[in-house]
């Protein structure tokens, strides 16, 4: 699977017209052909394409992503620098998203068509429809330009200045969190609604449990099982959203790196970043599949009773 994806990425980038080396020099004219050749040799661009691909993959497996066409840094260094911020952003956003969406989904599901349900569902619909960058702009307008409470852009490493880092990560992570929370709320609500119709809920109530206990102990766990798949999808959204969000907020993560790389035609960087992201996505979905097997005993291999 991964192999196929990497092949896809590579092929796409190589089919391109335009020599990246030339972009680096700005124009074809006035460039010493010899220097051009030298550079191409250095970057490995003179070898036939299949060899280039194998070189790249070989390197990746060893952890070496190659050398950037532009900066002096190896791609590995660049990715290393930018990985931390992206992970920080994504992790905080995911945590916030779950924190908001799970209680919201439960409340909406337990009291369908009530005022609070309608409000929550409306929020969810908006969150689903709004493009992350539009939400980002609105938040920036309100909090940075308008209220002047938070900075609009920038990045400071956590180790340098934790306080500043957190204020800077606040807006971007809230934006991502809202966008990620919306589908979860929707799905969980529907899942809870459906679960509550199940006969075992009546059994639980008939045993003498308080309604609150019935919901939390019997409805919620069962409703969460299918919701796990949605979380897998969310990570996908987020990985895409992260790109634009980082750009908007000047957050120096992998997303911003990718956009930069595209603008500069720095394919070495681009192909590795995209590969990494795709790998992360595949990994997460794999984990979700495994998790599913763990939490739903019906899916475990073995014991069918007589």
């Amino acid at each position: 699977m991964l192999a196929l994806t990497s092949l896809l990425i590579f092929v796409t980038l190589r089919v391109i017209p335009g020599n990246p080396v030339i972009t680096r020099y700005g124009a074809t004219r006035g460039v010493d052909p010899k220097a051009l050749e030298e550079l191409m040799r250095q970057l490995g661009l003179d070898k036939p394409i299949p060899i280039q691909y194998l070189d790249w993959i070989g390197g990746v497996i060893k952890g070496d992503f190659g050398v950037s066409y532009f900066s002096q840094f190896s791609v590995t260094t660049l990715i290393g620098q930018r990985l931390g911020p992206t992970v920080e952003l994504a992790a905080i956003a995911l945590a916030l998203a779950l924190l908001i969406s799970i209680p919201a989904g439960i409340i909406a599901g337990v009291r369908p068509n009530s005022l609070i349900d309608r409000a929550l569902s409306a929020f969810a619909t908006v969150g689903l429809a709004i493009p992350p960058f539009v939400l980002a702009i609105i938040l920036v307008v309100i909090f940075a330009v308008g209220l002047k409470l938070l900075p609009a852009q920038g990045y400071v490493d956590f180790s340098e200045n934790p306080g500043k880092n957190l204020t800077l990560v606040l807006l971007p992570s809230v934006t991502l969190a809202i966008v990620a929370a919306a589908p979860i709320v929707r799905f969980l609500r529907a899942s809870i609604l459906e679960t509550i119709q199940s006969p075992y809920i009546r059994t639980a109530e008939g045993k003498g449990l308080l309604w609150r206990q019935v919901v939390l102990r019997h409805a919620l766990p069962n409703a969460l099982v299918p919701t796990v798949t949605v979380v897998g999808l969310i990570v996908g959204y987020m990985l895409g959203g992260v790109v634009v969000i980082e750009y908007v907020f000047g957050w120096q993560g992998l997303g911003a790196l990718a956009v930069d790389a595209v603008l500069k035609r720095d394919y070495a960087v681009l192909q590795s970043v995209v590969l990494l992201v795709a790998a992360a996505f595949i990994l997460v979905n794999l984990l979700v599949d495994l998790l599913y097997g763990v939490i739903d005993p019906r899916l475990r291999v073995g014991g069918q009773g007589t």
């Binding site: 075992y200 059994t203 008939g206 045993k207 003498g208 069962n222 005993p297 019906r298 009773g305 007589t306």
Partner: protein, 361 residues
């Protein structure tokens, strides 16, 4: 006419040897219970103003076709009917009117003093929890036991219902069990707090005949040992015959006849009860005889006939049956009754010729 049903071994009648009936204030005293639903087309009342009592240790059968209102009655007793359903009337359980209790108090009663066993054990058990977990939960709600004690108690309950190797079984999930085993687990769960009343809603409908017998046996034994009163809801007359002391026949939301089981099957009074018994396929009859059926369909709760709800299908209907709802007429002195205008004639043994007229479709 014989009634064939699963032969249930009845342990010697413990109750008769115990204190006389006078010691029993009834375990359950239902008065004017009604269940209604608000629909866009107007309110619909599938259970209409029924009243009955259950004595300690008594086994009452609630018999009727689908749609007669029997399951809703059971749910209404446990107060498990939620809006848009509305329950009115009084339900006295051991002297307390359940209608007056709030959520917390009701939770104490449910499972504790009255428990229910449901129709489809597969969907009635939580599929992602082990059955051990579910039984222990049931135990811990009503008894202040630690985890270990509760587990031991659960294991002994499971042994009581005939499950082998209970401690290991407790770690299994519902889908790993057969239908009969699941139903016995549900019985164990329901009986875990020694309720005074057990309501069994079609406990054997989802099972094959052999397993039916097994489950009913188990149930019978358990309730006899503990003196639990039982309301058994079923559409299977055979099951009711083998298990119950008294039978209440429901039709269109009302109890149309109440009689001791033995007498009902011999000499039903209400025409519906009679028709039901006649419609049982007689295995000894000639294969060419037509299967007896009751003409017509049970009425929908939203479209009840005037007067007696059974009159359009009744062979003996008179004009009064069309216009006036029959009140309960006593049959004998033991609390038996029938809601039929022609009760007296039928008790007297007068052979009534079927009326061919506007009553019959």
């Amino acid at each position: 006419m014989t009634v064939q049903g699963p032969r249930v071994a009845r342990p010697p009648d413990v109750r008769a040897a115990a204190s006389p009936a006078a010691s029993g204030a009834p375990v359950l005293d239902v008065r004017n219970l009604s269940v209604s639903f608000a629909t866009p087309a107007g309110p619909v009342t599938p259970v209409r103003d029924i009243s009955f009592t259950v004595a300690p240790g008594q086994r009452v059968g609630l018999v009727g076709e689908s749609g007669s209102g029997k399951s809703l009655t059971a749910l209404a007793l446990m107060r498990l009917i939620h809006p848009p359903g509305r329950v009115t009337g009084q339900v006295f359980l051991g002297g307390t009117d359940l209608a007056r209790l709030d959520g917390r108090e009701l939770a104490k009663v449910r499972g504790g003093q009255v428990a229910m066993v449901y129709q489809d054990p597969m969907s009635a058990l939580n599929p992602v929890q082990t059955i051990g977990h579910q039984i222990v939960e049931a135990i811990q709600i009503h008894a202040d036991l630690g985890a270990r004690d509760a587990r031991d108690r659960a294991a002994s309950l499971l042994a009581d219902v005939g499950l082998q190797d209970p401690l290991r079984r407790m770690r299994s999930y519902p889908h790993e069990f057969s239908g009969g085993m699941r139903q016995r687990v549900m019985i164990a769960m329901a009986m875990s707090a020694n309720p005074a009343l057990l309501i069994a809603d079609e406990p054997t409908t989802a099972l094959d005949v052999t397993t039916q017998a097994l489950v009913l046996d188990t149930l019978s034994r358990l309730v006899a040992e503990r003196g639990t009163a039982v309301i058994l809801i079923t559409h299977d007359l055979g099951v009711a015959a083998g298990f119950c002391d008294d039978i209440q026949v429901m039709y269109a939301g009302r109890i149309v006849e109440r009689a001791p089981a033995s007498r009902l099957f011999r000499a039903p009074v209400h025409p519906y009860a009679e028709a039901l018994l006649q419609s049982i396929c007689d295995l000894d009859a000639d294969i060419t005889t037509e299967l007896p059926v009751i003409p017509g369909q049970p009425p929908l709760p939203s479209a009840l006939p005037s007067g007696c709800a059974f009159h359009p299908r009744c062979l003996y209907a008179l004009d009064v049956c069309r216009t006036t709802e029959p009140a309960p007429f006593a049959v004998g002195t033991g609390g038996a009754m029938a809601e039929c205008h022609r009760t007296d004639e039928r008790i007297a043994g007068v052979v009534i010729a079927p009326v061919v007229g506007p009553g019959v479709r």
